[in-house]
Every structure is written in C-alpha cells, then in structure tokens.
C-alpha cells in the first residue's frame, strides 16, 4: 500500500502555498519582530507590507527561529495519520537554532513516527525549489531511502543568487558571511551574493557586482553557466525567479529574458515574495534559484 507522507515546511519558500501542488503540506510561520512587536504572515502582513514600512518608516525588523511547540503540534496531529514526515527546512547554515530544534523533535519522535529533516542549505526560492522537487519525487515513488538520497543530491546541486541593492539587511540579520567584502562601496554597486549548494557550508559568498541591474543579472547567468560546465549539465531541471516587490519589475523581466535566451531548462517558475523573507533582503531584491540535476 502506498505510504502516507506529510511534508512540513516554513513560510520562507520564495513561492506561494498555492504553487506547491500537494495536499498534505503543513506550514510553519517564522515569527517576525518589527519594532519589538511580533507578527506572522497573513493576508495583511505580507512582503509588500514590510517593504513599505522599510521605505516609509525606516523600521527595523528581524526574524526568530521556528517555535518547537508549533512543530510538536503538527507532529502530534500527524503521527497517527501518516507513515512518514518530510520536513523541508531553511539551511542549517542560515539558522542553526531552527535546525537543532527540528533535530531534537526528530529524535524525540524516532520511535513514534520517522521524521526526515531535509537541510536544504538554502533560503527563499532555494528552499521552495527543493520543496517542489521533493513533491515531484513523492508523486512517483514512496521509497523513502531513495527519495532521501535523491533530495540530498538535489540540495548540493541547487544554486541561489541574490541581487541585493542594500546588503545592510543581510548584515543586520547576521548572515552576511564572506559577502561582507561587498559592503561599504563608494561607487554605487549592486552586489550579487550566492548560496551555492556545492559550497553551502561557507554561507553567503560574494559572487560579483554589477553597476546596473542588468549587469548584476549577467553576473548570475555567467556564474550558473560555469556551474553547468563544471557539472556537465546541458539542461537545468528547474529555475525559480522572483522579485521582492513586484514580479513586473524590469530587472526580473530582464532576468527572465536572459535565462530564456541563454539557458536550456525544463521548468521556469516565477516565485512569490513572503513576509519573513523581506526582513533579510530589503526592497529591490531580485533572486534566482537553479536546480541543476
């Protein structure tokens, strides 16, 4: 008999819930603290809401780790109705506290229900992209070992690039890592940072810089071409692109055009900005995630 599988994930996916296409998904919402008040994503509290407050009120915001109680509630409700739980989470390289909390819950339930924590080593559409790949796998197989092995391989072949007009947001969240070398330029530049599946342990890496948004997009295309050459990939399996403010922004259109012009791919998805993601990117961020294999 086919196994019943629940997928748990956070709300930092870079895609909308409706884009997932799997009914057994439980979502957890990251707490967002704005000027010392806690908020969670809702119809009112969206990425656009936060970005507007950044622009108008210059508010400060930060995120907190997922709450253990929230996860336990989901697992408790699921333990008698499902055979296995896959938990697709933001990279442990980005939130060690969330990763450790999830590991504790997994160990606590090891004799009750198997929980497989998938450390995506990614953020925003990188997480969403891996989640979508998992859903594809679940539709074709219920061999847990095989799926786990495959999804682990997918994480090392997922590359996410962020063009961030203001690196200060990433810096304030303490996640800037080696990309701090791109801070403090007199010349106005758009830094491109990357979370690269094959070097994910290093956190955000400085990929390059462009003076214009098109040039920054160019940096991304060139870098992913190098990765494709390195891993002898001709066709990218899946690409997710998004803009933190509006998917009609010209830089996202330019990114889409450059991708269509220069890369072979199976699937191109236009993502959706989420509330907690805006905390770390700030306004104007353009993001692309490539799942190579």
């Amino acid at each position: 008999m086919k196994k019943k599988i629940l997928v748990i994930t956070g709300d930092n996916l870079g895609i909308a819930n409706e884009q997932i296409g799997y009914k057994d998904v439980a979502f957890m919402k990251f707490p967002v603290i704005i000027n010392d008040e806690e908020y969670r994503e809702s119809e009112e509290y969206t990425a656009a809401y936060l970005i507007e407050r950044f622009k108008k009120e210059k508010v400060t915001a930060h995120t907190q780790a997922l709450l253990k109680g929230d996860l336990i509630k989901i697992v408790e409700a699921a333990k008698d109705n499902y055979d296995v739980i896959f938990h697709v989470m933001m990279g442990s390289n980005m939130s060690a506290a969330t990763f450790q909390m999830c590991e504790q819950v997994r160990k606590g339930y090891k004799d009750i229900i198997p929980i497989i924590n998938i450390d995506t080593k990614q953020v925003i559409p990188g997480v969403g992209s891996i989640l979508l790949r998992l859903i594809d796998l679940l539709k074709t197989s219920d061999d847990i070992a095989e799926i786990t092995a495959k999804i682990t391989e997918i994480t090392t072949n997922t590359f996410t690039y962020l063009c961030l007009p203001d690196l200060g947001f990433l810096q304030r969240g303490g996640r800037i890592g080696k990309a701090k070398s791109l801070l403090g330029s007199i010349l106005k530049i758009i830094p491109v940072v990357g979370l690269l599946g094959d070097e994910a342990d290093l956190g955000f890496l400085p990929i390059g810089k462009g003076r214009t948004k098109q040039a920054a997009n160019r940096v991304i295309i060139e870098n992913i071409k190098q990765k494709m050459q390195k891993y002898k990939i001709e066709t990218v399996k899946q690409i997710v692109i998004m803009h933190m403010e509006d998917n009609d922004f010209p830089e996202l259109k330019d990114m889409e055009a450059q991708i269509k012009r220069e890369l072979k791919f199976e699937k191109l998805i236009i993502g959706h900005p989420r509330f907690c993601e805006a905390v770390h990117t700030g306004p104007g961020a353009c993001i692309a995630s490539f799942s190579l294999k």
């Binding site: 060690a96 450790q100 070398s181 403090g184 330029s185 007199i186 010349l187 462009g210």
Partner: protein, 601 residues
C-alpha cells in the same frame, strides 16, 4: 575513550593554534625535499582548512564517525605542500579505519591503534619514494608505540599519547641521522617537528601560552655567520687584526640557535681562537661544516614549481595516472577518494601539466608556488612572513580612485601622484601584502616596466595583469575574488578586462590635429579607443557631444572627475535632462592626467 565531537573539536583547535604559533619556527627548519620555507604554513593551511570544513554550528550534532570523515575530507581538499599532503593521507587512513557502527559514540584504544596504523600505512603507500627521517617516521613511531602501550586496557588514551611523546621527541632528534641532508643543514626535519607539535597539542601537555621552542634565528643569519666563519678561517684571519669578525662571531647568541651544525661551528671556532696554529681544525670547520651548511641551504632546485590541484574524474585508473604524472617531476603525492584526486607534484611545467590534466577531468583548487622565489625569501635578510594565500595590488593615480577601488573589495592600493612609483616603492608594496600569491596591475602602461622589475625582485608568485587605465582596474575589482585561486582569478580578470566602455577627456597644451580633429591649445578633447572623438573650447560641450556619439544600449553613465574638476553638478543635471532614459552618476577620481573619465554601462 569516552569522548564527544565537542571535545575532539576543541582538542584539534587547540592543537592547530599551537601549530600556528610555531609556524615560523617550523618554516625555518624546512630543508627537505626543497628548502622553500613553507612547511609550517602548509601544515597550518591543511589543518585549519580541515577544521573550517566542519560547520561550527553542526559538529555538536555529528557522530564521531561523521566528524572524522568530514575532517579527513576537509584535510584532503585543503592539503598544501608535501607536509600537508602527507598529513591529509594520514587523516584519510584514520577515517577509513574508524568505522563505528551506528550510534556508537566511543573509540576503544584498540580501534584507535588500528586507525593510527592504517593512517600510517596510507601515508607511506601513497607517497611516491617515502623517505625516513620525515613526518612519515614520526607517524610510524606513533602508531607502533600506541599499539604496544594500548594492550593495557586500563590506559587512558590521552595518557597514552603523553607517554609516547618522549619517543617522538627522540625520533625527531634522530631525523638528521636518517636523512643526510638534514645533518648537513644542521636541523631536524620540519614536517616531523610540525607533527610533534600537533601531537603535543593533542596531549594537553603544554600550557596554552607557553612556547615549546627557542626564539627564531633566521636562515639568513645562519648563512651570514657561516659565511663569516668560512672567510675568517680560510684566510687565517684569526689574529688580533680581524677584531670585527672575531667580536661578531664570539657574540653570536648560541642559546638562540636551533641549528646544531652552526652551534658546533662556533664552539670549534672558539677552540681555534684559543690556539695559535691549528690548521687541521680550521680545515675541518671549512670542509665539513661551513661549506656543507651553505650548500644545503642554497641548493640547485631541479623542479621549480610546487604544483597542486584537485582533479575530478570518474574513470581514471590511479596507477596509470600516477605513471603518467611521474614523468612531469618529483615529490609526487596523489590522494584519491571516490572520484576526486588531490595531486601534489614538483614540476617545471605547471601550466602545461594542468592543461594535460584538464583533458582527464575537471580541475579545481589549483595552486602553483615558485619554490625558487620561496627559497630566496627563506635565505634573504628581509624575509617576508606570509600571512595570506592571495592578494591583489593595484597601482593607481588619484586619491578618489584609490577610495573607490578600496570600497569594491579587499585590495592593497599603491596610490601615486604626478610622479610614477619607483621599482623600490612597488617592491615594498608587494612585500607589504604579505601574500604568497599576488595579482598586480597598474592604471598606466608606462608603469609596467617598473612593475615587471619589482616582480623579479619579489619572492611571491605574481600574475601581472597588463592593464592600461583606471577603468580596467575597476573592472579587475568586479572580477577578483578572494575565494578563487590566482590562476582562476587571472583568467577571469583577463577575459573581462575590457568589459567597460569608456572615453577620457583632457585639455590640450598645444595646437595639434589628429584623426581629422583640430585641437587648439586650451581646448578640451575626448579620446575613445585611442582615437580622437571631439574637441571644443567648452568642456560641457565635449562631454555632451561625446556621450551623444558613443552611447549605444547603455543606461548608466558615470563621470569620474580629475583633480581640478570638482564642479560637475551643473553639467550632470543638464545631461540628465537631455538623456532622460540614462542614469548619470559622478564621482571624484582625483587623477592628475585626464580631466574626466566617462564610462558607459
């Protein structure tokens, strides 16, 4: 042994810190296989690289097996030089041997003994021409002694290691007897010393702040004293007349010299000075000690470049590959794990070798060290103590440009005014980077000869980028990355050097005609790709007309103002209203020669 990954990580970090503090001392002992003075640095980069490959927030959740595997893999990928490669092989052997069943969180002394044995075997088997009197011997002694002592199950592991240290110290002391080149040079083996320091760090035998070694007495000093001794003795100038040399030699601080031969020389010399005529003793000093000492520290280096890289190849036969590589040089070490080969070799044709290997698979993490330069550094009086692997040095005119370049990433700047920098100034700037590998470029082709001369004086490996203007330096900053090696950086930079379209505007100091454009004294004129574009009395007109003529698909125009051109705001706002779809930015470049640089992006 009841130990967890937090404990192991702390021990290895402390051990690595100890090694780091003694790095320069170890470098000073480096005579085999090539006296290039980098054993300490290579060992540190290997161990530090292995530790860094373990995520700081996740090792707590790792099993010991996972930790050891991760450390060994990290050592493999980050190994540097002969010493680092052998150390990585040792770690790989240990990791292959320790196979803990799921959930087991302790290592028995028997298992550890077997692991040390396997580590030692792996290191010997994978080193082409394994030589006794080196780190390999220390590994063997550690493994054998551990096996002997671990039969008593009551012995705690750390206690065992403490107990083995005297044997390792004795072995280290004997390395000159096993390897004649060490005896000639009057030193113990540097890699063996590094290994002992690592083991001592593990044993907690040392207080953290206590140094285990004597103050550093550089190789340059050793050679100078050796030279004085030889000159003094061979010319029989040991009478009262040669008071300077006599005073110099007899005041050498013997307690600071770790070189056994030199200590002997000075002791013998003191004996000689007390006797009036002792020709035989003088001959002995010259022949057996002073000459040999100098020769050993100043040898002919047969294969000049210490070359390392990672090759990923799925269907490569290791034995066949090894045979092919042997033809390219010596000191060959191949570390093989899954489809990854880490190669270390001394060769005279590193770039051709890399090209050859590119056909066999994917090459990455390339490193080429010029050992002649490193050796020259080791034996020179103004020795450079490297503290980083790679640096970028840009030579630029204009304080504004210097600040702009600094803001674009990690870079060393040599900023000059009207007078271009001298060879000596450039040489000092190269030295100041304290990097083993340097990418150097200037904003003016007239500086290239001085830069080339400075490069020949430098002891670092330097890739010269033949840039000709400051816009190319900005382009270099876009493509330089500290996380790439020198060859990858140089390749990316050269490929993109001319990516930014620009023109420059200057003011004429005489009448002339060029490219059918008439220019009068005092006129402004613009140049694009070495051709005259436009000329006029008013600079605003020249800027506007040049932009009209040269703008294509670009949507960002940047104007960099020269030293005397601060007031550009009016011109920019005029331009902005004329070219609505283009964004204009202006910055102070501070250059002497051209009034404006204008870039089109």
């Amino acid at each position: 042994m009841d130990i967890n990954t937090i404990h192991i990580n702390s021990i290895l970090n402390n051990s690595c810190n100890l090694l780091s503090r003694e790095k320069n001392y170890i470098n000073n002992l480096n005579v085999f296989p090539v006296p290039d003075g980098d054993t300490g640095l290579n060992m540190i980069l290997t161990v530090r690289g292995a530790l860094n490959s373990i995520k700081p927030h996740s090792f707590k959740a790792m099993s010991i097996q996972e930790y050891v595997d991760c450390f060994a893999e990290g050592a493999l990928l980050n190994s540097r030089g002969c010493s680092g490669s052998i150390l990585a092989l040792f770690c790989k052997g240990i990791s292959d041997s320790i196979k803990l069943t799921d959930g087991t969180e302790s290592i028995s002394n028997d298992k550890l003994s077997a692991a040390l044995k396997k580590g030692c075997e792996t290191a010997y088997q994978n080193t082409i021409n394994p030589t006794e009197g080196t780190m390999l011997t220390m590994m063997r002694v550690l493994s054998q002694k551990f096996e002997q002592l671990s039969s008593d199950s009551s012995n705690n592991t750390l206690y065992l290691i403490k107990k083995i240290i005297p044997s390792l110290e004795e072995t280290l002391k004997n390395t000159p007897e096993m390897l004649p080149v060490l005896k000639k040079a009057g030193v113990v083996d540097s890699g063996a010393m590094g290994f002992l320091i690592l083991v001592k760090g593990i044993s907690f035998e040392l207080e953290y702040n206590e140094s285990i070694i004597k103050p550093i007495f550089s190789i340059a000093n050793i050679l100078i004293i050796s030279k004085y001794v030889r000159s003094f003795v061979s010319h029989k100038k040991y009478g009262k007349r040669n008071r300077f040399i006599r005073t110099f030699i007899t005041n050498v601080p013997l307690k600071n010299i770790s070189n056994i031969n030199l200590t002997n020389i000075i002791n013998m010399l003191n004996n000689l000075l007390q006797k009036k005529d002792n020709g035989k003793l003088a001959e002995t000093i010259i022949r057996q000690l002073a000459d040999e000492l100098s020769e050993t520290w100043n040898p002919n280096i047969k294969y000049r470049y210490c070359t390392e890289f990672i090759l990923e190849s799925e269907n490569l036969d290791k034995a066949e590959f090894e045979n092919k590589l042997k033809e390219w040089g010596d000191s060959l070490i191949i570390i093989h794990s899954n489809n990854i080969f880490k190669i270390h070799i001394h060769t005279n044709k590193p770039k051709t070798l890399l090209k050859f290997c590119e056909e066999l698979g994917k090459i990455s993490s390339t490193k080429i060290d010029d050992m002649k330069k490193q050796h020259y550094n080791l034996i020179s009086e103004d020795r450079a103590y490297y503290n980083k692997d790679i640096a970028l040095l840009l030579i630029v005119n204009g304080t504004g440009f210097a600040d702009i370049l600094k803001g674009l990433g990690t870079v060393e700047i040599l900023c000059y005014k009207k007078v271009k920098p001298s060879v000596n100034q450039i040489h000092n700037a190269l030295l100041k980077t304290r990097a083993k590998n340097i990418i150097a470029a200037a904003d003016d082709s007239d500086i290239l000869p001085a830069l080339k001369s400075a490069i020949t004086l430098s002891k670092s490996n330097i890739e010269l980028i033949e840039s000709k203007n400051v816009v190319q330096l900005i382009s270099i900053m876009y493509y330089y990355s500290e996380i790439q090696d020198i060859l990858q950086n140089a390749k990316a930079i050269r490929e993109n050097l001319d990516n930014i379209k620009f023109c420059k505007i200057a003011r004429a100091t005489r009448d002339f005609t060029e490219d059918n454009v008439n220019v009068k004294n005092g006129d402004f004129f613009s140049i694009y790709q070495n051709r005259m574009v436009f000329s006029d009395r008013q600079k605003g007109t020249v800027i506007e007309r040049s932009i009209s003529k040269l703008t294509g698909m670009e949507n960002l125009i940047t104007i960099y103002c020269g030293k005397k051109e601060n007031n550009i705001d009016k011109i920019v706002s005029k331009l902005q209203s004329k070219f609505e779809n283009i964004t204009f930015e202006s910055y102070f470049g501070g250059q002497d020669r051209y009034n404006y640089y204008i870039t089109f992006e």
